[in-house]
């Protein structure tokens, strides 16, 4: 197991370098260091000298990938790419272009993001799995048919509609919770209840259909018939046998998402005024803040890799046949 983990972690290194390289290339195809300087210094009354000073201070006056003026390893190390990327592998994200500490910003935004993403994830999973089991129980009945119709209808509606509709009904017309905002501590729940409900509701359609398909496939297997033949109640068959055996495909889609919950949701956070990580990357792209963009992409990649490893590990928990060597 340990050897497997180490091997997977080592695989991650070239992946992260590649992601960094692509992010770097894509960013600098669109933005030059001059553009970044102008964005930070403003468009009014900026002199060429000020731009040069800004670039020199932040190390953007060097070549991008290869420094022909340098000798030895400095040909590669005395470049923007190396200078900006190497430190990230030591989790040193440095400062945003406006001078603020990125790690600090990420830590402060992670809490609000998780406050929405975690309950939405857990509740969503509970609701959709339960609903899918219910539909499976009533398979090929009117309940199943109308349940699937409802799911198709729900998954056909845009997430934005749920948000705007939810805000309109619950906050504006019924005046039950604030339309947007965020408060720390105990005050937080009144801001979170609506986005969480909307998050759960908007995910019901697609997830339920997916889980229902998995359960239906599973319920046709021989061991289920055996369980029924033993006289087990249908609920016990579904929850104890079908659910457990259907966990592998469910975990494949679910566990990989868990680390990414830290990254937040752009749309939800934006509309509900939640100061999370979801909008941090977009704000940075709009502000041409390469330091933040590369840090967020890097963290996203790391979390995704962690998610994939966790998924593999979770298989061993639900299926005793799977072991890593």
């Amino acid at each position: 197991m340990l050897a497997y983990l180490i091997r997977r972690l080592l695989y991650a290194v070239p992946i992260l370098i590649g992601v960094n390289l692509i992010t770097f290339a894509l960013f600098f195809v669109v933005n030059t260091p001059d553009d970044m300087a102008r964005m930070q210094l403003g468009v009014k009354r900026v002199t060429p000298e000020a731009i040069e000073r800004w670039k020199a201070e932040r190390g953007y006056d060097k070549p991008l990938f290869i420094n022909p003026a340098a000798t030895g390893s400095a040909v590669f190390t005395d470049t923007i790419f190396f200078a900006k990327s190497a430190r990230m592998f030591a989790a040193d994200f440095g400062r945003a272009e406006d001078g603020r500490d990125i790690a600090r910003e990420i830590v402060s935004r992670m809490g609000p993001s998780l406050a929405i993403a975690l309950p939405t994830f857990i509740l969503g999973l509970l609701v959709t799995v339960s609903f899918a089991l219910l539909l499976t129980f009533f398979r090929a009945s009117y309940l199943d048919f109308w349940g699937v119709v409802l799911c198709v209808a729900m998954m056909s509606i845009s997430g934005l509609f749920y948000i705007i509709g939810g805000q309109y009904l619950v906050s504006k017309i019924w005046r039950l919770v604030p339309i947007s905002g965020y408060g720390g501590g105990l005050d937080a729940w009144k801001f979170l209840i609506l986005p969480v409900l909307i998050g759960v509701l908007s995910g019901i359609g697609s997830s339920t259909r997916w889980y229902r398909t998995i359960f239906l496939e599973e319920i046709a297997k021989d061991y289920v018939r055996t369980a029924r033949a033993k006289g087990l109640a249908e609920a016990a068959v579904l929850f104890r046998h079908v659910l457990q055996n259907a966990l592998i495909p469910i975990l494949t889609g679910v566990v990989v998402v868990i680390p990414l919950l830290f990254m937040g949701s752009l749309l939800t956070e934006s509309f509900f005024g939640i100061p999370g990580l979801g909008s941090y990357t977009i704000d940075a792209i709009n502000a041409q803040d390469f330091a933040v963009v590369r840090a967020m992409v890097f963290i996203g990649s790391v979390l995704y890799i962690v998610g994939l490893i966790l998924t593999d590990l979770s298989y061993t928990l639900v299926d005793p046949r799977i072991r890593f060597h």
Binding site: W174, R175, S270
Partner: protein, 722 residues
């Protein structure tokens, strides 16, 4: 069943939530009934350090905290400078190159130096701050802190001891030196280095020092001399400028020239501070009526009353209509009126608007989404509030912004540029053909006025009525301004050598290229409309959409033919608009702000004369005459198609008092007053929760689950035989 339990719990929670009033109140319960103004911001401020802060998002905060020597009178229009921390608006003294004093009427060419002496009012004190705290021996308490001592300190409020001290002239001198600090990148350094004697040299010396020291090390600016700024006494300092620059007093009303105490700068430069965002850029320190006590620019920023504020009273003089608008009712009362201002971040316009309607924001702009709900346009183009808004007692405040949006011609372009007659007539023809009034009506909901020249209303030199129209584009008919008929434009086009949009000699069609940013779905209708305007003259318009960076690069290199740009005034002086067309500001040749690269020696001469004259007194008449000549020249040459001056619409609730729109003075928070009891009453009235939908949802869920429960029960009880 988990789903059933979940639904039940959620319903219960919602029911509990709904017990009582104002459940949708986004603010803590403890704030109810408090004298707090609630506002919102869309973009997070990047810089709160006065030496860097330049945008509107930033000055909303910095203007309430920092006090430069001067400010604008809150009510008087045109905008009038009055003292803030100084005892008077300084009058410059002029000297020739031998140091001999010259009279105020001396010609600008004879003036080698202008000296502004600023005398501060004694007794003004800073907000409480740990940088001022000292120990029993009188030594700074928080000096030479190491990372260990900073453990547990995450924000300024975590420092236990605070103190204050009196504002002195040295603080202003220190800030002027900071303009040259190479690590602060002040946007006005380049411009001020040309004006303030010794600032460029200081910048060079600091640059050398910065290279010598580690990246985060503090540079003691007091070790470096700035010959053009000197201390006269504890409360007086002098600024020496090269030549004559009457507009300098306007800069003295901006945060760039606000005081920064040396010990505060020193305090924030201790090791480990920046990593905790403990910087002047994050926690400003000033003498103004408010101090920033919460700074979470992702969510909420709070300004609280500065207990050491020197006291100021509400103005008693204003414009004639101010009396009727109730803006003089608080004459002579001590400022500020509010205890706190809470700014919440709202990135989306829909929640912002709805919270305003619920009374949770005291004022709001009007986005295009909510325009029809808020405002009705009358037959005559007059603007009225909708019945819903009037029913809530909401008031509408409008003001024409000190801005201009225009379509510029690149005067270096062989087809549309140059001052030759043919090209000039082509530009004039296009100026007539593009119907700005229609544009304002269709795309701006009428929120703007068509521009007749570069100067917006409210700026010295702007002329109303017949005398102020652009005679190239408009006629004055029956007391009304009327755009010239299209035939005039076609005639001009023919005279320009392009009859029916084709070159007279070759028959080639006239194709013009417009460079613009965006080009997404939202811009399509605008660009389609513009294409049709050109088609009225049988001219083909090619729209070259690009991102903002490439667009700027093209403008810098002169690789555009036509482009759209705008300008917001830094200060209310015609020089701040006319300089955009001075040849010494040519974008391609000098990297300046003249994106059209317009160069007309006659205009330059008028501009140079105009900028050195004052608007007040006998020189004002001369200045006005020169401005009118310069504007007439610009109207004839048409380097821009003068687009429009936008009108800002603001809605404010009935409980918000003393609100008058202003375009250049930003320290307006101290004048605002809240009728807290009225706000509380109306909020309660508007926000009673509606409970029946919860019961309806619960019934609906039960109705949906009941067949499932019954079906489950039936199946479980059924036998193999049924």
């Amino acid at each position: 069943m988990p789903f059933f339990r979940f639904t039940f719990l959620v319903s219960l929670l919602l029911l509990l939530t709904a017990c009582g009033s104002e459940q949708n109140d986004p603010y803590p319960r403890a704030e109810r009934g408090q004298n707090i103004l609630y506002s919102a911001f869309t973009e997070r401020p990047k810089h709160l350090d006065p030496v860097q802060s330049y945008t509107e998002d930033e000055i909303t905060f910095t203007a309430q905290i920092y006090e430069p020597p001067l400010q604008y009178h809150y009510l008087k229009r045109p905008y009038t400078l009055i003292p803030l921390t100084s005892d008077a608006v300084p009058t410059p003294r002029y000297y020739d190159d031998r140091g001999r004093e010259l009279p105020a009427t001396a010609p600008a060419e004879a003036i080698a130096h202008s000296v502004y002496e600023i005398r501060l009012r004694p007794g003004i004190r800073y907000q409480p701050h740990p940088a001022f705290a000292s120990d029993a021996a009188g030594q700074p308490l928080y000096r030479n802190l190491d990372r260990e001592q900073l453990r547990g300190i995450e924000k300024i409020a975590d420092f236990r001891a605070t103190a204050s001290r009196e504002l002195v002239a040295d603080d202003y001198i220190y800030e002027i030196k900071r303009l040259a600090h190479p690590r602060l990148h002040s946007p006005i350094f380049g411009m001020m280095a040309e004006r303030i004697v010794g600032l460029r040299e200081l910048g060079a010396a600091l640059q050398t020092e910065a290279k010598r020291l580690p990246a985060d090390a503090w540079i003691d600016l007091d070790r470096f001399a700035l010959s053009g700024v000197t201390r006269v006494d504890r409360h007086t300092y002098r600024i020496t400028l090269r030549g004559k620059y009457p507009q300098f007093v306007y800069w003295l009303a901006m945060p760039f020239f606000a005081p920064v105490p040396r010990e505060v700068d020193r305090f924030y430069h201790q090791p480990g501070m920046a990593a905790k965002n403990l910087t002047l850029d994050w926690y400003p320190v000033g003498t103004g009526p408010f101090m920033l006590t919460q700074n979470n620019p992702n969510s909420r920023m709070v300004l609280e009353r500065n207990p050491n504020f020197h006291g100021e009273t509400y103005p008693c003089l204003g414009d004639p209509e101010d009396q009727a608008d109730g803006l003089l009712a608080d004459c002579g009362k001590t400022l500020p009126f509010i205890d706190q201002a809470v700014f919440s971040r709202e990135k989306e316009s829909i929640p912002y608007w709805n919270k305003f309607l619920q009374g949770y924001y005291d004022a709001s702009g009007i986005s295009s989404d909510s325009f029809d709900q808020a405002v009705r346009l009358g037959v005559g183009g007059d603007v009225q509030l909708s019945d819903e808004m009037r029913g809530k007692g909401i008031r509408l405040l409008t003001s024409v912004r000190a801005s201009i949006f225009y379509m510029g011609f690149n005067m270096l372009d062989p087809v549309v540029g140059s001052l030759a007659e043919a090209q000039t007539k082509l530009r004039q023809a296009l100026s007539i053909a593009i119907d700005q009034e229609e544009f304002i009506s269709i795309f701006m909901n009428g929120r703007g006025i068509a521009a007749h020249g570069p100067l917006p209303p409210g700026i010295f030199g702007y002329v109303e009525g017949e005398a102020g129209i652009n005679p190239v584009v408009y006629d004055w008919v029956d007391g009304q301004v009327r755009r010239k008929p299209l035939e005039v434009a076609k005639k001009l086009l023919t005279e320009a050598g392009w009859p029916n949009g084709r070159q007279a000699s070759t028959g080639e069609p006239l194709v013009l290229n417009l460079d613009t940013t965006g080009g997404g779905m939202g811009d399509k209708s605008r660009l389609d409309w513009l294409t049709r305007q050109f088609a009225k003259l049988d001219i083909q318009l090619v729209v070259r959409s690009t991102d903002f960076n490439r667009f700027q690069e093209k403008v810098r290199k002169g690789a555009v033919q036509l482009y759209y740009l705008g300008w917001n005034a830094d200060y209310p002086d015609p020089e701040n608009f006319l300089f955009l067309l001075a040849s010494r500001e040519g974008k391609v040749a000098k990297g300046g702000e003249n994106a059209s690269n317009y160069a007309n020696p006659a205009f330059d001469q008028l501009f140079e004369r105009m900028k050195n004259l004052e608007s007040e007194g006998p020189r004002g008449v001369e200045r006005l005459a020169i401005i009118r000549q310069a504007v007439a020249l610009l109207q004839h040459d048409a380097p821009w198609i003068y687009g429009f001056h936008p009108t800002s619409y603001t809605l404010s609730h009935v409980w918000l008092k003393n609100r008058k729109p202003t375009e250049v003075g930003h320290n307006t928070l101290k004048y605002q007053r809240i009728d807290v009891a009225e706000r509380q009453r109306l909020r309660q009235e508007w926000n009673r929760p509606v409970l029946w939908p919860l019961a309806a949802i619960a019934v609906l869920l039960l109705a949906m689950l009941l067949p499932a429960a019954l079906g489950y029960r039936r199946r479980e009880r059924s036998t193999a035989r049924g």
